[in-house]
Symmetry: C2
Subunit: 262 residues, 2 copies
DNA sequence: ATGATAGTTTAGGTAGGACCAAATAGGCGG
DNA sequence: CCGCCTATTTGGTCCTACCTAAACTATCAT
C-alpha cells in the first residue's frame, strides 16, 4: 500500500491545507524504548560483561524518564538475562551475556504453554542429539571426556534412586552437548533434556533392564567420542535415543503430557 | 549439607539462648512472586487463551501489593509472551500461549550476546533441518504443500533483488519446518533461519549460479516431501544445507559474525 | 592496636497518589 | 437505524516518600 501526498486543499477559512494521510501508528512504551536502547548497546559490546549500568536514579536524570519507567526497562533486561540486578550499596544492574539458561527457560515455556506432545520432544531430540555426538567426537577436549566419565560413573551405581538415575542421565546427555562446543545446540539440549526428564519421571517405565541398557549405550558412545570416531558416535547415539523414544512411546500410548514447573 | 539444632547455650546475662543456625536466605521480589503465581496458573490452564486477567487496580486490592509491583509482574509475563497487554477501556492483560516468536527472540539474544560463530549456526541447521524434512515428508498436509509451492515460485523469479531472494529462501525453509508439524523444531528453525539470513546478507556470495542451484534443490526436496518419500527428503535436504554451509564457509574464512537487530 | 559494634551512605524495592492517553460503551441527536 | 460525542474504564507515566540491603566508616571497649 502506498501513501502519496495529496493535492493541497483550500478549507472554508481560506487557509491552505495539505490533507495529510497518516497510517495507524504504534506508540511504543517508554520503557520499551529504553530497554531496546540499552539492549542494543549491551549486545553491541559497549559495556563489557560485568560492568554496572548507571544507578536507576542517575538513568532518571540522564533520560528524563520517571524512575518507574527506568525500573521497568531494567526489569525487562533482567528477564531476558542481559543484566543481573543486585541490591544494596554498590548494587545495580550488572551486564551479563544471556546463557543457555535463558534459552532453556523459554523453550520450557513453549513446551508447557503449547502442551507439546512428548512425541514431539523425542522427535526433536532424535534430530539434535546425534549431531551433538558427531561434533563432540570431532571437537571433544580432555575436560569434556572427564565430564562424560563422571556422569557415566554416577549413572552406573545400581543402588541410586530413580531420581538419581534420571539426573545422572540428563547430566551425561548435557555433557555430550557441551563437548560439541556448540552453545546453541547445548542450549537446546539443556531445555529438551529437562523437559523429557520431567515427563519421563512419572511414567515409571524405567526398570533395572532399561538402566542396564542405558549405561551400556552411554559407555559405547563415550568410547566413540573418545576415539574421535564421528561416524560411530552418530550411529550409536541415533540408535540409543531412538530406542529410548520407542520405549517411552510404547508406555505412553499417545497421551498429552504434563511438564512440571521449570 | 544439614543444619541441625544446636545445643542450648547460656549467655553471660544468664538468658537461655539457642544458637540458631540460618542459611543465607533469598528474599524473592514481590513482583516475581506474583509473576510466578500467575505464570503457573496460566500454564496450568486456569485461564483459557484469550481471557483477560483482572485489571491492575483490582489485582492491587486482591493481592494487597502496590500497583508498581503488580505492573512489574504483568510486564514480566508480557516479556515472556504469556500475556498480551492492551490499553484503553476493555483493555488489560490477555492470556496467550507463547509462540515460536518467543523462542526465536531468545535464541537471537543468545546468538548475538555470545557472538556465536556463523559456523555454529550452520552446524546447528545441518543437524535440525534434515529431520524437519523427514517429518515433513511423513506428516505434510495439502496446505503445507501449497505453502512450499508458493515459496518456490517466489524464489524462482530471476528478477527479484537479493533481499527478495533471501526472504523467499527463508520462507521456504520455514515452510518445511511448519510441515513437520513439530512446533519445537519450527521455533528453532525460525530463529536459526533469520540469523543465518542476516549474516549471509552482507556476505555477497549469492550469485546467479547459487540461486539456480538453490531453486533446483528446493524443487527436488519439495517433490520428495510431496511424494512422502522421507528417505529422499532427508538425503536431499542434508546435501542441500551442507553444500550451502560449505559455500558460505568458503567465503567466510573464520570470521566472527554480526547479527543485526532481531 | 584491634576487633566488634553501631551509625552512615548508597543503592534497589515497595507503596500510594495524581494525572495522562487510549479505547470502548453507551447515550443522544439526526 | 446510524453516526457522533461523551463518559468511563483501563493501562502508561510521573512523583514523592519511605523501607530494606549492603558496604563503608567511625567509634568504643578491651
Amino acid at each position: 500500500m502506498r501513501y502519496d501526498m495529496a493535492d493541497p486543499v483550500i478549507s472554508e477559512t481560506g487557509t491552505t491545507r495539505h490533507a495529510v494521510q497518516l497510517n495507524p501508528m504504534q506508540v511504543p512504551k517508554a520503557s520499551d524504548v529504553l530497554a531496546n536502547e540499552l539492549r542494543e548497546r549491551i549486545l553491541h559490546g559497549d559495556f563489557p560483561e560485568g560492568t554496572a549500568l548507571p544507578p536507576e536514579r542517575e538513568l532518571v536524570t540522564q533520560t528524563r524518564m520517571s524512575r518507574t519507567t527506568v525500573r521497568e526497562a531494567l526489569r525487562i533486561l533482567e528477564v531476558q538475562g542481559l543484566v543481573r540486578i543486585k541490591t544494596g550499596r554498590a548494587g545495580g544492574a550488572f551486564v551479563q551475556s544471556p546463557g543457555e539458561e535463558s534459552i532453556a527457560s523459554s523453550v520450557n515455556l513453549l513446551i508447557r504453554g503449547k502442551q507439546i506432545r512428548l512425541a514431539a520432544l523425542l522427535e526433536t531430540r532424535e534430530a539434535i542429539e546425534p549431531a551433538c555426538a558427531q561434533l563432540a567426537a570431532q571437537y571433544r577436549t580432555d575436560a569434556d571426556l572427564t565430564r562424560l566419565e563422571e556422569a557415566n560413573e554416577a549413572i552406573s551405581s545400581e543402588t541410586g534412586s530413580l531420581a538419581d538415575f534420571l539426573q545422572a542421565n540428563v547430566d551425561w546427555h548435557i555433557a555430550v552437548a557441551i563437548a560439541s562446543h556448540n552453545e546453541l545446540l547445548t542450549g537446546f539440549m539443556l531445555a529438551l533434556s529437562r523437559s523429557i526428564y520431567a515427563s519421563t519421571d512419572n511414567k515409571g517405565f524405567v526398570d533395572a533392564e532399561v538402566r542396564r541398557t542405558t549405561v551400556l549405550a552411554h559407555r559405547n558412545i563415550t568410547k566413540a567420542i573418545r576415539a574421535q570416531d564421528a561416524g560411530a558416535a552418530v550411529r550409536r547415539m541415533k540408535r540409543h535415543v531412538h530406542a529410548y523414544a520407542e520405549a517411552v512411546m510404547e508406555v505412553e500410548d499417545r497421551t498429552s503430557i504434563e511438564v512440571p514447573r521449570s
